[in-house]
Amino acid sequence: MQIRFWGTRGSLPAPLGRQGVRRKLVNALVKAAGKGLDTPEKADRFCDEELTFAESSTFGGNTSCVQIDTGGSDYLLCDLGSGVREFSLSAVARHGPGQPQTYHVLLSHVHWDHIMGFPFFVPAFIPGNRICLYSCHPHLESAIRNQNHAPCFPVEFEALAAKIEFHHLEPGRAYDICGATVVGADQLHSNESFGYRIESGGKAVVYTTDSEHKPEDAESMRRVADFFRDADLVIFDAMYSLADSISMKEDWGHSSNVIGVELCQMAEAKSLCLFHHEPINSDEEIERILHETRRFEEITRSGAPLAVHAAFDGLVLEI
């Protein structure tokens, strides 16, 4: 199973901006001084070997969209944040016109950052394409239809040329979607949110974003750990620090890196991917959080190691 991240920010898109690019450029030029980087190959090697990820790249600014490749010809996505635009351009470029495709999309909920990419989802404009939208959320269809509606968007939903279907899922029930077995679970988040466990070919990935966890509620923590049980990868809402998530941002519906590690350790999951990054966090701050999370996993480990990743727009993980 291959997991490709197209959008990884929480709440709203967060482009890097001029100052951010300038800061990286100045830093890299200073570090490169005197190193004779007179060919692209030497410069590339310097970026890979002597700069940190945050110095040479960016975690990106698009909101939630993750592709799960189970090996079939259809596409399977989680959420339709702004990252889906990049995905759709890539898919259309790959297939060209006149080659109808089927796209299956699991939606965690209908907050704007998770559906805002749909009006720009190019396959929806192409006749012959089939787009199947699935969610446990009761308002999926109305939210998607209302978004493609004047005065918020000039193209009405009814004008979209693809065949678009809505499928309501019941939490806790297994469904066969795009060749995978999918089970949804209720999550703690304002206006409702749902996580999905996706299993295919003996591998399991859990997509769980926009979900708060109460560490004092042992039963709830155990229930979540059971949902994560033995997963090969858990894509986890780690938007806030633990201190923020249980003080000033308590009941804001998000979680932290610390809780992510604790739940994955309870579940004996194999890897954790920090996701739904706080939009005000710089690349340097996200990279720091990644290193700290790996250290936290190390000092609290009692069983097998848990691999820790930080999602970025363009990350590809094989499980």
Partner: protein, 122 residues
């Protein structure tokens, strides 16, 4: 949960005799801290020197006690954290919530200087 209380002039020192606070004993930890907040006059110093590990549930107990102290216009501070516990405070950003003192005496010097001589005589 077993914890020692040392009452000084202007400060109360509480020493939890536990090496680990997690989901299994976080409630008892919270109750012990809240009781200490009630007993303290103005300054409460929690001696963390026995603690090897504190989970998110334990940190939440500290947060609740911190809020209770604040609403009573009292100060709850932490002292003598072991290196791994200090790391957990940094990673969770609880180091931004609490002032962490290297030792109990250091905390008293900063928060209740009149109690230091009494502490030295213990």
């Amino acid at each position: 949960m077993t914890y020692e209380k040392t009452a000084l002039e202007g400060a109360l020192i509480v020493t939890p005799r536990v090496d680990r606070v997690d989901m299994t004993n976080a409630d008892a930890f919270k109750e012990a801290l809240l009781e200490a907040v009630g007993l303290a006059s103005t300054v409460l110093v929690v001696d963390m020197s026995h603690l090897d590990y504190i989970s998110s549930a334990g940190l939440r107990s500290l947060m609740i006690a911190h809020k209770a102290a604040k609403s009573d216009q009292k100060t709850l501070s932490l002292a003598a954290l072991r290196p791994l516990t200090t790391e957990i405070f940094t990673i969770s950003r609880f180091n931004l919530v609490f002032t962490l003192y290297g030792g109990v005496r250091e905390a008293l010097t900063a928060l209740a200087p009149d109690s230091v001589a009494q502490f030295d005589g213990l």
